[in-house]
Symmetry: C2
Subunit: 118 residues, 2 copies
DNA sequence: TTTCGTTATACCTGTTGAGGTATAACGAAA
DNA sequence: TTTCGTTATACCTCAACAGGTATAACGAAA
């Protein structure tokens, strides 16, 4: 064992999000929710896939749509299937934006954790 | 106004910390607390300077000392002045480690926020 | 052995927010 | 015009947590 003694394993950790003046707009969970809505075309099914209540999913979406100028999710109710939800082009842009940001962040965490052989 | 229309101001945001298997060890607030303890040599005065209760400061210190193998803060009670607290060499190392990590993180946030002219 | 300011710890309480449940609204299709 | 599954929203409850207050422990100095 060279310079480093027997060591307590340390990790660089953190959470990131994109915010407006109103506060948090999208983070990891909300982006995943958008991706599930895109996949299923349904808020309810997206919520089930993430093991969260419909209520919570709806609140997150409502908050996003309120804070962003343009809705990230558009939903309709009634009709065939009872209703549906789709992710807008704006929503897609946020997904891409966050995932790019997050990728760089994860690289930083990994790099810093390396330095923690301490 | 070139490629970007009138825009909603977005910011890359986040929080970071250093964690062990037991969870969070030090973040921004705890590092600041260590710095204040170093400055004042007193848990109570450090807490006052940060406008937190002595109780909360003590709990944070206790948690850090428990999770780290080596105490980050050593305190004595009784005697001249009623007691005192000092930051150990290990504590100083965590301060330096976190501040370095945080500096790179702040750079990432600033850089990403640039890309959010979106 | 009394004083004093700090460290250490127990205890109690209000708040807030996470979460579930219930129900209304809706519109296409049969 | 009835059915159906989903969206939308109101309402209620309970636990966890933040935070304050009170008090014990401590030891150097006077």
């Amino acid at each position: 064992m060279p310079a480093s003694k027997k060591k307590l394993p340390l990790a660089a950790d953190g959470r990131i999000w994109i915010s407006t003046a109103e506060g948090k707009l999208v983070g990891k969970g909300r982006i995943e929710l958008l991706e599930k809505i895109k996949q299923y075309g349904s808020i309810r099914q997206a919520a089930m896939a993430m093991e969260m209540s419909y209520r919570q999913a709806w609140q997150l979406i409502d908050d996003m749509n309120t804070k962003a100028q343009t809705p990230l999710v558009i939903s309709t109710r009634g009709g065939k299937g009872g209703g549906n939800a789709t992710v807008t082009e704006k929503g897609e842009q946020y997904i891409a934006l966050f995932n790019s940001f997050n990728k760089k962040f994860q690289q930083l965490l990994a790099q810093q954790t390396q330095h923690f052989i301490f």
